[in-house]
Symmetry: C2
């Protein structure tokens, strides 16, 4: 059997489904038995990450640690956590386990840096933006990040919350208006830096415009499991 990917998920549940779907689609396979084994722990009641970072709400760390222990006990060999904001607690999670635990933010930044992408806008939760998860890594490499202004950020967060509440149409409209604004202002590339965003923007044709953090994370995990390669 190939190595087992463990998904520390539920943040949100649709993003976990999207990550699993991308594992299947990124695995070269002609039949079931060639696919990668996956154990997903999707616990959507993990406290809200943005609320914790921005307003000092309940920390999600203990519940993320509990999910991580379940994955370890079940035999996961490569952990992924398809939630950008949750990477605020990555170091604490990583230091609690001996299992390989991929870092979505590092992997996405690595792609941006290695491809020489510049002038890139960050589409993410207010928690991810306020914590500077992407800015810190990209600016160190002299990559200019465009951070949405407060009004734009409000619309992006509203879009993510609208999707989580089941209103796909409103979610799409809200984020699309910000993307169009930034695009008219000269931004050509966008980091899908919240795992709900590739789901909200599923209908978009212009895929080259986006760097999908979920897709980058999954590709790295698939390479590691299939080929024993470290992609970062």
């Amino acid at each position: 059997m190939k190595k087992i990917i463990g998904i520390l998920g539920g943040m949100g549940p649709a993003a976990t489904v999207d990550a699993m779907d991308k594992i299947v689609k990124n695995t070269p396979a002609n039949r079931d038995q060639q696919h990668i084994p996956v154990i997903a722990v999707s616990f959507p009641d993990i406290p809200d990450r943005t609320t914790s970072i921005v307003s000092g709400g309940e920390s999600p760390l203990n519940q993320m640690l509990a999910a991580l222990k379940i994955l370890e006990a079940a035999g996961a060999q490569c952990i992924i956590m398809p939630c950008n904001t949750a990477h605020y607690w990555y170091d604490e999670l990583k230091s609690s386990t001996k299992t390989n635990f991929l870092n979505m933010i590092d992997i996405t930044c690595h792609k941006i840096i290695s491809e020489g992408i510049n002038n890139v806008a960050i589409l993410a939760t207010t928690g991810t933006i306020k914590a500077g998860l992407y800015q810190a890594k990209l600016e160190k490499e002299n990559i200019h990040c465009v951070v949405p202004d407060d009004t734009q950020q409000h619309y992006i967060m509203e879009s993510i919350l609208a999707y989580k509440s089941g209103d796909e149409e409103r979610a799409y409209r809200l984020i699309k208006s910000v993307i169009d604004q930034l695009n008219h202002a000269g931004v050509a590339k966008f980091i899908m830096g919240c795992t709900e965003i590739p789901v909200i923007l599923r209908r978009e044709d212009n895929r080259d415009r986006y760097i999908d953090a979920t897709e980058e994370l999954v590709k790295c995990a698939v390479e590691w499991c299939c080929l024993d390669l470290n992609c970062i």
Copy 2:
């Protein structure tokens, strides 16, 4: 926290993703924390179910039991197995656990019987058809099942295998030709009795024509977890 759904999956992996997606879509929720916790064990290297039933190939039972033990240890409280053919081993799996384990075939037949649906065609793997999983239960209730003839069944199985091999277009074409034939012969309702089939037929508009076994199973699990209801 709501009760945890455990998915004994990987048969195939895309069908497991479809079941998880349907859990999210069938749960009334306005934010992450209102969704149902899910633990999915997607082990695609479980031996092929149809080969075991039809040609006496390696039994998948031991590996299914191992996956079930992982789900139990991880805390799953309601097990679902989104693979119709795997229900050939349902009684053995069920008798090995004290956890609530829903039966997809029973739930789907219950819907057909309770809604008075008759003259219904079974779209399923050759393993499910040869084992008579649907026929036995429906004919006992005097419901006329249309079983595809050998040529039609060959096309259906080829369609399922084409999808598993990554050829979505061929998969769609093959199964659609059989559905059209049966429809012209007077069949109005079709059981999607293999969990790959709702994925293969995702683009179909005419949803009323189909009874989707995955959807019925998931709705029942969601009711059980949210409302403490037994739907069958």
